[in-house]
Amino acid sequence: MDYKHLGYFVAVCIIVFGSVISWWLKMFLTERTILKRISLLEEEK
Amino acid sequence: MFTALLKKDLLIELRSKEIVISMASFGVSVILLYSFSFNESPKTFSIFASGLLWMVFLFISVLGLHRSFSLEKEFDAIGLVLSAPVNRSLIFLSKWVSGFLFLLMAQIIIVPLFWLFLALDIPSQIGLWLLVFIMADLGIAAVGSLVAGITLRARMSEVLLPILLFPLVSPLLIAAVKSTDALMVGLPFEEWKVWGAIIFTFVIAFSVTGVLIFDYVSEE
């Protein structure tokens, strides 16, 4: 087993999956704050 | 109409001479700095000469394009021109040609000084050499006018113009550097015709796109 090259592969996996997951979380949180604001605005009316 | 628009640009420039003068003096001072910082023999320097030369031309074309378009912005002249019943493609064409002419005029001042200061050899195929300059200038002016039109009304337009222009123009820069290089060494056209073809394609692609698409740029 070549551990150095395994390390490269693992790094790539972490970068790819990590960025996808953190992107999804960002979208989720943005969406939640916007929805909250919208419902507040609608209540005001 | 096209000639009227072009005449307007050229007349303004003829009276003030601010665009060509600023382009040329900036270019010459950069060349002066080159000769200070690369204190090498002409033989060594000639390896990098064409690359450095085209870099200067890119910088000064940003300068000139920005000035030429912000002149329009100063009195909101472009608003007037745009609201006039003029085909916008003609505005692009006039800006393209005037940008090309300004760049060429600045080069007429810069290039001889470059050769003189850095003691370079004069290329043997002088006609082809001039043709490369003219074609590449047409390319730079075409993309440049298009990008300047896009960024004209943005905040920080003076920063946005080079940020967008340099990546777009990179194939043209490579091709122009490679062909001037080849000409300075005296290679026959057969050896570098690929680069000629790329310059030609670039000019055609962006002038046609410019004419077709400028209609849609910042329609108010």
């Binding site: 790094a11 790539v12 970068i15 979208m27 609608e42 | 490579i174």
Partner: protein, 229 residues
């Protein structure tokens, strides 16, 4: 308007994508092991199953930006502008993945992280261009103008791609020999794994763009509410 995750189709899609990503990882880890043995750098070779699909997705994204730009200029429909922005964002997202995974692979395969390789360079040039694109959107002024100008930019940016690629190909022909196998030279197993990941990434891209457009619409609604429209 509801949350994106309360809709049925996006949810199904998300589940499929998660399963496909997991299955893809599993396949890449053990299935293709038998094929790559001769390659010498076993594990590093597998990076390609993520690197190349990212690149394809990035270019797909930029292609859609161009199409959306043309459509927006023709119709003036806000929907096309939203599709354009969302595609540009995720094109750039995958572009960044390409630019990070490429040098890691280069380090493993050639012992140097950056080589002047035409495709990697084309990606870098596009990435720089799209940074300009987002700056233009940021500083461009009012909405109508930004939408128009960035549509035009999206079109000319994609038109530039073939010229950039060709010139870099001729330029780097003498600088760096890039060891690469043609598609037909790969064994069918490698290709199957590769296309599986490609499908996953494309699906992921569609999901991302969809989610982003949903949020853009929500933002627009919020804006309209605050201005009392």
């Amino acid at each position: 308007m509801n949350s994106f995750n309360s809709k049925r189709i996006p949810n199904i899609m998300a589940v499929i994508i998660i399963i496909m990503l997991g299955a893809g990882l599993k396949i890449v880890v053990d299935y293709s092991l038998t094929v790559d043995k001769e390659a010498g750098y076993l594990w590093a070779q597998k990076i390609f199953y993520y690197h190349v699909p990212s690149a394809w997705t990035a270019f797909l994204g930029y292609f859609i930006v161009m199409i959306a730009g043309v459509q927006f200029l023709r119709t003036g429909n806000r929907k096309w502008d939203q599709i354009g922005v969302a595609s540009a964002e995720f094109g750039t997202f995958f572009c960044l993945l390409v630019l990070i995974t490429g040098p890691i692979w280069g380090q493993a395969a050639w012992g140097q992280p950056w080589t002047w390789e035409p495709r990697l360079l084309t990606t870098l040039i596009l990435f720089l261009l799209y940074i300009g694109y987002f700056m233009l959107r940021q500083f461009g002024g009012h909405y109508e103008r930004v939408a128009r100008n960035s549509a035009v930019l999206g079109i000319i940016a994609f038109l530039d791609v073939p010229i950039v690629y060709l010139s870099l190909k001729f330029w780097s022909a003498d600088t760096q020999a890039h060891p690469q196998l043609g598609m037909s030279e790969q064994s069918s197993l490698v290709l199957n794994v590769f296309f599986f990941n490609l499908a996953t990434f494309t699906l992921l891209f569609i999901y991302m763009v969809w989610y982003r457009i949903h949020i853009l619409k929500l933002k627009q609604k919020q804006l309209e509410l605050t201005h009392g429209l």
